[in-house]
Protein backbone atom coordinates (compact mmCIF):
# COMPACT_ATOMS: atom_id res chain seq x y z
CA UNK A 1 0.00 0.00 0.00
CA UNK A 2 2.86 2.35 0.83
CA UNK A 3 4.60 1.76 -2.52
CA UNK A 4 1.46 2.61 -4.47
CA UNK A 5 1.13 5.87 -2.59
CA UNK A 6 4.73 6.85 -3.16
CA UNK A 7 4.23 6.40 -6.87
CA UNK A 8 1.22 8.65 -6.70
CA UNK A 9 3.23 11.30 -4.87
CA UNK A 10 5.71 11.31 -7.74
CA UNK A 11 2.93 11.81 -10.24
CA UNK A 12 1.09 14.45 -8.31
CA UNK A 13 2.89 17.18 -6.54
CA UNK A 14 1.16 17.29 -3.27
CA UNK A 15 1.72 18.40 0.21
CA UNK A 16 2.29 16.18 3.20
CA UNK A 17 0.10 13.33 4.40
CA UNK A 18 -3.18 13.39 6.25
CA UNK A 19 -2.31 15.55 9.21
CA UNK A 20 -2.80 18.71 7.21
CA UNK A 21 -6.26 17.57 6.17
CA UNK A 22 -8.88 19.49 8.03
CA UNK A 23 -11.06 17.55 10.46
CA UNK A 24 -14.19 18.55 8.56
CA UNK A 25 -12.83 17.19 5.34
CA UNK A 26 -11.74 14.04 7.11
CA UNK A 27 -15.19 13.43 8.47
CA UNK A 28 -16.81 14.11 5.07
CA UNK A 29 -14.48 11.60 3.51
CA UNK A 30 -15.09 9.09 6.26
CA UNK A 31 -18.79 9.37 5.67
CA UNK A 32 -18.27 8.68 2.01
CA UNK A 33 -16.02 5.79 2.92
CA UNK A 34 -18.54 4.32 5.32
CA UNK A 35 -21.27 4.60 2.71
CA UNK A 36 -19.09 2.70 0.27
CA UNK A 37 -18.37 0.01 2.86
CA UNK A 38 -22.03 -0.38 3.66
CA UNK A 39 -23.05 -0.56 0.03
CA UNK A 40 -20.52 -3.24 -0.72
CA UNK A 41 -20.94 -5.04 2.54
CA UNK A 42 -21.89 -8.40 1.09
CA UNK A 43 -19.04 -8.85 -1.34
CA UNK A 44 -16.39 -7.29 0.87
CA UNK A 45 -17.39 -9.52 3.73
CA UNK A 46 -17.26 -12.60 1.54
CA UNK A 47 -13.91 -11.58 0.14
CA UNK A 48 -12.60 -11.20 3.66
CA UNK A 49 -13.94 -14.51 4.87
CA UNK A 50 -12.39 -16.15 1.83
CA UNK A 51 -9.01 -14.64 2.58
CA UNK A 52 -9.24 -15.73 6.21
CA UNK A 53 -9.74 -19.31 5.12
CA UNK A 54 -6.96 -19.01 2.53
CA UNK A 55 -4.56 -17.77 5.18
CA UNK A 56 -5.57 -20.74 7.31
CA UNK A 57 -6.70 -18.57 10.18
CA UNK A 58 -9.42 -19.42 12.68
CA UNK A 59 -9.07 -23.10 11.84
CA UNK A 60 -10.60 -23.90 15.23
CA UNK A 61 -13.90 -22.57 13.95
CA UNK A 62 -16.27 -23.87 11.28
CA UNK A 63 -16.91 -21.92 8.09
CA UNK A 64 -20.34 -20.86 9.30
CA UNK A 65 -18.87 -19.59 12.55
CA UNK A 66 -16.13 -17.71 10.74
CA UNK A 67 -18.70 -16.08 8.50
CA UNK A 68 -20.91 -15.16 11.45
CA UNK A 69 -18.03 -13.60 13.36
CA UNK A 70 -16.78 -11.94 10.19
CA UNK A 71 -20.18 -10.29 9.86
CA UNK A 72 -20.09 -8.95 13.41
CA UNK A 73 -16.53 -7.74 13.13
CA UNK A 74 -17.25 -6.08 9.79
CA UNK A 75 -20.29 -4.26 11.12
CA UNK A 76 -18.51 -3.15 14.26
CA UNK A 77 -15.55 -2.05 12.17
CA UNK A 78 -17.68 0.10 9.92
CA UNK A 79 -19.52 1.53 12.88
CA UNK A 80 -16.26 2.49 14.58
CA UNK A 81 -15.20 4.23 11.38
CA UNK A 82 -18.53 6.00 11.23
CA UNK A 83 -18.83 7.16 14.80
CA UNK A 84 -15.16 7.67 15.53
CA UNK A 85 -15.76 6.25 18.98
CA UNK A 86 -14.36 2.98 20.10
CA UNK A 87 -16.28 1.94 23.21
CA UNK A 88 -18.63 -0.29 21.28
CA UNK A 89 -15.70 -1.82 19.46
CA UNK A 90 -13.82 -2.41 22.73
CA UNK A 91 -16.83 -4.05 24.24
CA UNK A 92 -17.25 -6.19 21.16
CA UNK A 93 -13.54 -7.10 21.16
CA UNK A 94 -13.78 -8.21 24.79
CA UNK A 95 -16.91 -10.16 24.07
CA UNK A 96 -15.39 -11.80 21.01
CA UNK A 97 -12.25 -12.68 22.92
CA UNK A 98 -14.23 -14.23 25.75
CA UNK A 99 -15.91 -16.48 23.22
CA UNK A 100 -12.99 -17.51 21.08
CA UNK A 101 -10.21 -17.89 23.63
CA UNK A 102 -11.74 -21.09 25.04
CA UNK A 103 -11.83 -22.34 21.44
CA UNK A 104 -8.07 -22.07 21.27
CA UNK A 105 -7.87 -19.07 18.96
CA UNK A 106 -4.49 -17.40 19.23
CA UNK A 107 -3.30 -13.82 19.14
CA UNK A 108 -1.67 -14.02 15.71
CA UNK A 109 -4.97 -15.20 14.26
CA UNK A 110 -6.93 -12.28 15.69
CA UNK A 111 -4.33 -9.76 14.59
CA UNK A 112 -4.17 -11.51 11.24
CA UNK A 113 -7.86 -11.34 10.46
CA UNK A 114 -8.15 -7.69 11.43
CA UNK A 115 -5.21 -6.79 9.22
CA UNK A 116 -6.75 -8.81 6.39
CA UNK A 117 -9.95 -6.83 6.73
CA UNK A 118 -8.00 -3.62 6.63
CA UNK A 119 -6.32 -4.77 3.43
CA UNK A 120 -9.55 -5.95 1.81
CA UNK A 121 -11.20 -2.60 2.49
CA UNK A 122 -8.16 -0.64 1.32
CA UNK A 123 -8.04 -2.61 -1.92
CA UNK A 124 -11.68 -1.86 -2.55
CA UNK A 125 -10.92 1.83 -2.08
CA UNK A 126 -8.09 1.59 -4.64
CA UNK A 127 -10.48 -0.06 -7.05
CA UNK A 128 -13.16 2.57 -6.57
CA UNK A 129 -11.04 5.70 -6.71
CA UNK A 130 -8.30 4.61 -9.06
CA UNK A 131 -9.34 7.22 -11.60
CA UNK A 132 -8.83 10.05 -9.13
CA UNK A 133 -5.50 9.88 -7.34
CA UNK A 134 -6.08 13.01 -5.34
CA UNK A 135 -9.37 11.73 -4.03
CA UNK A 136 -7.90 8.32 -3.30
CA UNK A 137 -5.02 9.92 -1.45
CA UNK A 138 -7.36 11.92 0.70
CA UNK A 139 -9.65 9.05 1.42
CA UNK A 140 -6.69 6.94 2.50
CA UNK A 141 -5.51 9.78 4.71
CA UNK A 142 -8.83 9.58 6.47
CA UNK A 143 -9.03 5.81 6.43
CA UNK A 144 -5.56 4.71 7.53
CA UNK A 145 -5.35 6.23 11.01
CA UNK A 146 -8.82 5.01 11.83
CA UNK A 147 -8.15 1.54 10.45
CA UNK A 148 -4.92 1.24 12.39
CA UNK A 149 -6.59 2.30 15.56
CA UNK A 150 -9.28 -0.28 15.05
CA UNK A 151 -6.70 -3.02 14.50
CA UNK A 152 -4.92 -1.89 17.61
CA UNK A 153 -8.08 -1.82 19.71
CA UNK A 154 -9.14 -5.30 18.74
CA UNK A 155 -5.67 -6.79 19.18
CA UNK A 156 -5.13 -5.13 22.55
CA UNK A 157 -8.59 -6.16 23.71
CA UNK A 158 -7.83 -9.74 22.78
CA UNK A 159 -4.45 -9.76 24.49
CA UNK A 160 -5.82 -8.24 27.67
CA UNK A 161 -8.56 -10.80 27.79
CA UNK A 162 -6.01 -13.56 27.39
CA UNK A 163 -3.94 -12.12 30.20
CA UNK A 164 -6.99 -11.95 32.40
CA UNK A 165 -7.81 -15.59 31.69
CA UNK A 166 -4.25 -16.63 32.42
CA UNK A 167 -4.26 -14.75 35.72
CA UNK A 168 -7.53 -16.37 36.63
CA UNK A 169 -6.15 -19.80 35.85
CA UNK A 170 -3.04 -19.13 37.88
CA UNK A 171 -5.17 -18.04 40.79
CA UNK A 172 -7.25 -21.19 40.51
CA UNK A 173 -4.14 -23.34 40.42
CA UNK A 174 -2.78 -21.63 43.47
CA UNK A 175 -6.00 -22.10 45.34
CA UNK A 176 -6.23 -25.75 44.37
CA UNK A 177 -2.71 -26.39 45.53
CA UNK A 178 -3.48 -25.08 48.98
CA UNK A 179 -6.75 -26.41 50.17
CA UNK A 180 -8.07 -25.29 53.49
CA UNK A 181 -9.58 -28.41 54.95
CA UNK A 182 -12.29 -28.61 57.50
CA UNK A 183 -11.79 -31.84 59.38
CA UNK A 184 -13.95 -31.25 62.38
CA UNK A 185 -16.39 -28.65 63.36
CA UNK A 186 -14.55 -25.43 64.19
CA UNK A 187 -11.19 -26.94 63.18
CA UNK A 188 -9.37 -26.09 59.97
CA UNK A 189 -6.18 -27.58 58.67
CA UNK A 190 -3.98 -25.78 56.19
CA UNK A 191 -1.22 -28.07 54.91
CA UNK A 192 1.38 -26.09 53.01
CA UNK A 193 3.61 -27.86 50.56
CA UNK A 194 6.45 -26.67 48.42
CA UNK A 195 7.83 -23.27 47.76
CA UNK A 196 6.09 -20.23 49.06
CA UNK A 197 6.78 -16.87 47.57
CA UNK A 198 5.41 -13.70 49.13
CA UNK A 199 2.52 -13.56 46.70
CA UNK A 200 1.44 -17.09 47.43
CA UNK A 201 1.86 -16.45 51.13
CA UNK A 202 -0.43 -13.46 50.93
CA UNK A 203 -2.96 -15.45 48.95
CA UNK A 204 -2.81 -18.24 51.53
CA UNK A 205 -3.48 -15.80 54.34
CA UNK A 206 -6.47 -14.31 52.60
CA UNK A 207 -7.83 -17.74 51.80
CA UNK A 208 -7.40 -18.91 55.37
CA UNK A 209 -9.04 -15.85 56.88
CA UNK A 210 -12.02 -16.25 54.57
CA UNK A 211 -12.13 -19.91 55.54
CA UNK A 212 -12.10 -19.09 59.24
CA UNK A 213 -15.05 -16.84 58.76
CA UNK A 214 -17.12 -19.13 56.58
CA UNK A 215 -16.37 -22.26 58.62
CA UNK A 216 -16.54 -20.45 61.96
CA UNK A 217 -13.29 -22.08 62.89
CA UNK A 218 -11.89 -21.66 66.36
CA UNK A 219 -8.66 -23.52 65.81
CA UNK A 220 -6.44 -23.66 62.76
CA UNK A 221 -3.55 -26.05 62.31
CA UNK A 222 -1.03 -24.79 59.79
CA UNK A 223 1.29 -27.60 58.83
CA UNK A 224 4.56 -26.57 57.27
CA UNK A 225 6.25 -29.97 57.34
CA UNK A 226 6.36 -29.85 53.57
CA UNK A 227 8.00 -26.47 53.39
CA UNK A 228 11.73 -26.68 52.90
CA UNK A 229 12.73 -23.13 53.57
CA UNK A 230 11.27 -19.77 54.25
CA UNK A 231 12.78 -16.34 53.90
CA UNK A 232 12.16 -13.54 56.35
CA UNK A 233 9.35 -12.03 54.27
CA UNK A 234 7.39 -15.24 54.14
CA UNK A 235 8.11 -15.96 57.79
CA UNK A 236 6.56 -12.60 58.50
CA UNK A 237 3.50 -13.56 56.54
CA UNK A 238 3.19 -16.64 58.71
CA UNK A 239 3.36 -14.53 61.84
CA UNK A 240 0.84 -12.09 60.40
CA UNK A 241 -1.43 -14.97 59.54
CA UNK A 242 -1.35 -16.10 63.14
CA UNK A 243 -2.12 -12.59 64.35
CA UNK A 244 -4.87 -11.96 61.84
CA UNK A 245 -6.48 -15.30 62.68
CA UNK A 246 -6.56 -14.28 66.30
CA UNK A 247 -8.40 -11.12 65.39
CA UNK A 248 -11.05 -13.41 63.94
CA UNK A 249 -11.20 -15.32 67.20
CA UNK A 250 -9.23 -18.35 66.01
CA UNK A 251 -6.18 -19.92 67.60
CA UNK A 252 -3.40 -21.05 65.29
CA UNK A 253 -1.19 -24.05 65.91
CA UNK A 254 1.85 -24.32 63.67
CA UNK A 255 3.17 -27.82 63.13
CA UNK A 256 6.17 -29.21 61.31
CA UNK A 257 8.41 -26.30 62.10
CA UNK A 258 11.92 -27.21 61.04
CA UNK A 259 14.86 -25.90 63.09
CA UNK A 260 15.88 -23.69 60.17
CA UNK A 261 12.50 -22.05 59.88
CA UNK A 262 12.30 -21.70 63.65
CA UNK A 263 15.58 -19.83 63.49
CA UNK A 264 14.30 -17.58 60.71
CA UNK A 265 11.29 -16.67 62.82
CA UNK A 266 13.42 -15.90 65.84
CA UNK A 267 15.70 -13.81 63.63
CA UNK A 268 12.89 -11.54 62.56
CA UNK A 269 12.25 -10.72 66.16
CA UNK A 270 9.30 -12.92 66.97
CA UNK A 271 9.13 -14.62 70.31
CA UNK A 272 8.64 -18.24 69.35
CA UNK A 273 7.39 -18.92 72.83
CA UNK A 274 4.35 -16.81 72.07
CA UNK A 275 3.55 -18.94 69.04
CA UNK A 276 1.67 -22.17 69.44
CA UNK A 277 3.89 -24.81 67.89
CA UNK A 278 3.77 -28.58 67.92
CA UNK A 279 6.23 -31.01 66.36
CA UNK A 280 4.02 -32.79 63.87
CA UNK A 281 0.59 -32.59 62.31
CA UNK A 282 -0.81 -35.44 64.35
CA UNK A 283 0.24 -33.77 67.58
CA UNK A 284 -1.15 -30.50 66.32
CA UNK A 285 -4.55 -31.98 65.60
CA UNK A 286 -4.62 -33.60 69.02
CA UNK A 287 -3.84 -30.32 70.69
CA UNK A 288 -6.47 -28.61 68.58
CA UNK A 289 -9.05 -31.12 69.70
CA UNK A 290 -8.10 -30.56 73.31
CA UNK A 291 -8.53 -26.83 72.81
CA UNK A 292 -11.91 -27.43 71.30
CA UNK A 293 -12.98 -29.60 74.20
CA UNK A 294 -12.99 -32.84 72.28
CA UNK A 295 -11.87 -35.88 74.12
CA UNK A 296 -10.72 -38.75 71.98
CA UNK A 297 -11.58 -41.99 73.73
CA UNK A 298 -10.17 -45.27 72.46
CA UNK A 299 -12.55 -48.15 72.23
CA UNK A 300 -11.54 -49.93 75.43
CA UNK A 301 -11.25 -53.54 76.33
CA UNK A 302 -13.81 -53.96 79.05
CA UNK A 303 -14.50 -56.86 81.32
CA UNK A 304 -17.53 -58.94 80.43
CA UNK A 305 -19.19 -61.15 83.00
CA UNK A 306 -19.30 -64.70 81.59
CA UNK A 307 -21.78 -67.22 82.85
CA UNK A 308 -19.95 -69.19 85.47
CA UNK A 309 -18.56 -66.28 87.26
CA UNK A 310 -15.16 -65.83 85.76
CA UNK A 311 -14.22 -62.61 84.17
CA UNK A 312 -13.37 -62.60 80.55
CA UNK A 313 -11.74 -59.70 78.81
CA UNK A 314 -13.35 -59.11 75.53
CA UNK A 315 -13.05 -56.12 73.28
CA UNK A 316 -16.10 -54.22 72.38
CA UNK A 317 -16.96 -54.32 68.74
Amino acid sequence: MLQARNRMSAVQSRQSAGSTQSPERTSVLLRELVAHLRQNRTQLREEWARRITEAKLLTAMSNEEVFAEATSVYDNYVEALETGTFEALQAYARNLSERIIPRGVETHEVVGIVLLLRDVLARSLFAKYQADFTKLDRILDAYEPAANRIANTVAVGFVQERERVIRQQQEAIRELSTPVLQVRERLLILPIIGVIDPQRARQLTEQLLRGIRSNRAKVVVIDITGVAAMDATVANHLVQTVEASRLLGATVIVTGLSPEIAQTIVNIGVDLGKMNTVGDLQGGIEQAERLLGYKVVPIAETPVQAPGGSETWRSQS
Binding site: Q90, G157, Q160, E161, R164, R167, E171, N236, G269
Partner: protein, 142 residues
Protein backbone atom coordinates in the same frame (compact mmCIF):
# COMPACT_ATOMS: atom_id res chain seq x y z
CA UNK B 1 -6.98 8.87 30.98
CA UNK B 2 -5.92 10.24 34.31
CA UNK B 3 -8.20 10.76 37.21
CA UNK B 4 -6.99 13.26 39.72
CA UNK B 5 -9.20 13.30 42.80
CA UNK B 6 -8.35 15.80 45.46
CA UNK B 7 -9.61 15.69 49.03
CA UNK B 8 -8.63 18.54 51.33
CA UNK B 9 -7.83 17.16 54.76
CA UNK B 10 -8.63 19.22 57.79
CA UNK B 11 -10.70 17.11 60.11
CA UNK B 12 -11.42 13.50 60.80
CA UNK B 13 -14.52 13.67 58.61
CA UNK B 14 -12.20 14.34 55.70
CA UNK B 15 -10.28 11.19 56.53
CA UNK B 16 -13.44 9.17 56.07
CA UNK B 17 -14.20 10.93 52.80
CA UNK B 18 -10.71 10.37 51.46
CA UNK B 19 -10.72 6.66 52.15
CA UNK B 20 -14.21 6.30 50.75
CA UNK B 21 -13.06 7.90 47.50
CA UNK B 22 -10.03 5.65 47.51
CA UNK B 23 -12.17 2.59 47.88
CA UNK B 24 -14.54 3.70 45.10
CA UNK B 25 -11.66 4.36 42.77
CA UNK B 26 -10.17 0.97 43.53
CA UNK B 27 -13.49 -0.73 42.89
CA UNK B 28 -13.92 1.05 39.57
CA UNK B 29 -10.54 -0.27 38.50
CA UNK B 30 -11.43 -3.85 39.36
CA UNK B 31 -9.13 -4.11 42.34
CA UNK B 32 -10.12 -6.99 44.61
CA UNK B 33 -12.03 -6.11 47.73
CA UNK B 34 -9.03 -7.00 49.87
CA UNK B 35 -6.76 -4.70 47.87
CA UNK B 36 -9.31 -1.90 48.12
CA UNK B 37 -9.27 -2.29 51.90
CA UNK B 38 -5.48 -2.04 51.95
CA UNK B 39 -5.64 1.14 49.89
CA UNK B 40 -8.38 2.65 52.06
CA UNK B 41 -6.40 1.80 55.19
CA UNK B 42 -3.24 3.39 53.82
CA UNK B 43 -5.20 6.53 52.93
CA UNK B 44 -6.71 6.58 56.39
CA UNK B 45 -3.32 6.44 58.09
CA UNK B 46 -1.73 9.07 55.85
CA UNK B 47 -4.70 11.40 56.20
CA UNK B 48 -4.69 10.93 59.93
CA UNK B 49 -1.05 11.92 60.10
CA UNK B 50 -1.95 15.12 58.30
CA UNK B 51 -4.73 15.93 60.73
CA UNK B 52 -2.65 15.07 63.78
CA UNK B 53 0.65 16.67 62.90
CA UNK B 54 0.09 19.20 60.14
CA UNK B 55 -3.44 20.33 60.88
CA UNK B 56 -4.23 20.53 57.19
CA UNK B 57 -3.18 19.16 53.86
CA UNK B 58 -4.50 17.28 50.88
CA UNK B 59 -4.89 13.72 49.66
CA UNK B 60 -4.61 13.26 45.90
CA UNK B 61 -5.71 10.09 44.15
CA UNK B 62 -4.55 9.24 40.69
CA UNK B 63 -4.94 6.33 38.29
CA UNK B 64 -1.62 5.46 36.75
CA UNK B 65 -0.77 3.23 33.84
CA UNK B 66 2.17 1.00 34.46
CA UNK B 67 2.33 -0.56 31.00
CA UNK B 68 2.90 -4.26 31.52
CA UNK B 69 2.23 -3.77 35.22
CA UNK B 70 -1.35 -2.91 34.45
CA UNK B 71 -3.08 -0.15 36.30
CA UNK B 72 -2.49 1.22 39.73
CA UNK B 73 -3.65 3.83 42.17
CA UNK B 74 -1.27 6.48 43.38
CA UNK B 75 -2.01 8.27 46.62
CA UNK B 76 -0.23 11.50 47.40
CA UNK B 77 -0.55 12.82 50.94
CA UNK B 78 0.77 16.34 51.11
CA UNK B 79 0.91 18.89 53.86
CA UNK B 80 2.74 22.06 54.80
CA UNK B 81 3.20 21.12 58.39
CA UNK B 82 6.29 21.00 60.57
CA UNK B 83 7.94 18.24 58.55
CA UNK B 84 9.63 15.16 59.93
CA UNK B 85 12.86 15.90 61.74
CA UNK B 86 14.37 12.45 61.55
CA UNK B 87 13.17 10.54 58.51
CA UNK B 88 15.33 7.50 59.21
CA UNK B 89 13.85 7.15 62.63
CA UNK B 90 10.32 7.52 61.31
CA UNK B 91 10.91 4.85 58.71
CA UNK B 92 12.67 2.43 60.97
CA UNK B 93 10.97 -0.83 60.45
CA UNK B 94 10.39 -3.20 63.28
CA UNK B 95 7.85 -5.82 62.51
CA UNK B 96 6.88 -5.99 66.10
CA UNK B 97 6.28 -2.27 66.36
CA UNK B 98 2.75 -1.25 67.16
CA UNK B 99 1.29 0.99 64.49
CA UNK B 100 -0.16 3.33 67.05
CA UNK B 101 3.23 4.74 67.91
CA UNK B 102 4.54 7.65 65.91
CA UNK B 103 3.52 8.03 62.31
CA UNK B 104 3.01 4.40 61.48
CA UNK B 105 4.94 4.88 58.23
CA UNK B 106 6.63 1.46 58.23
CA UNK B 107 3.16 -0.01 58.55
CA UNK B 108 1.82 2.03 55.64
CA UNK B 109 4.77 0.90 53.58
CA UNK B 110 3.76 -2.72 54.11
CA UNK B 111 0.28 -2.02 52.79
CA UNK B 112 1.44 -0.72 49.43
CA UNK B 113 3.75 -1.66 46.56
CA UNK B 114 5.71 1.58 46.25
CA UNK B 115 6.46 4.16 48.90
CA UNK B 116 8.21 7.50 48.64
CA UNK B 117 8.53 10.30 51.17
CA UNK B 118 9.89 13.81 51.06
CA UNK B 119 9.97 15.93 54.14
CA UNK B 120 11.68 19.13 55.11
CA UNK B 121 11.62 20.74 58.50
CA UNK B 122 8.98 23.48 58.52
CA UNK B 123 8.32 22.94 54.85
CA UNK B 124 5.95 20.05 55.03
CA UNK B 125 5.77 16.43 54.06
CA UNK B 126 4.74 14.59 50.93
CA UNK B 127 4.15 10.86 51.00
CA UNK B 128 3.53 9.11 47.69
CA UNK B 129 2.35 5.51 47.67
CA UNK B 130 1.29 3.26 44.83
CA UNK B 131 -0.67 0.05 44.72
CA UNK B 132 -0.83 -2.01 41.54
CA UNK B 133 -3.76 -4.13 40.59
CA UNK B 134 -2.95 -7.83 40.63
CA UNK B 135 -6.45 -9.23 40.60
CA UNK B 136 -8.64 -10.25 37.68
CA UNK B 137 -10.77 -8.12 35.49
CA UNK B 138 -9.82 -6.63 32.17
CA UNK B 139 -9.56 -2.90 31.94
CA UNK B 140 -9.61 -1.44 28.48
CA UNK B 141 -8.81 2.22 28.19
CA UNK B 142 -8.52 4.61 25.32
Amino acid sequence: MEDDIQVPIRSDQDIVLARHKGRSLAASLNFTSGEATLIATAISELARNIVTYAKKGVIRLKVINGGSNGHGIQVVAQDEGPGIADLDQALRDGFSTSGSLGLGLPGVRRLVDEFRIESKRNRGTTVTVTKWRTGNGALVTH
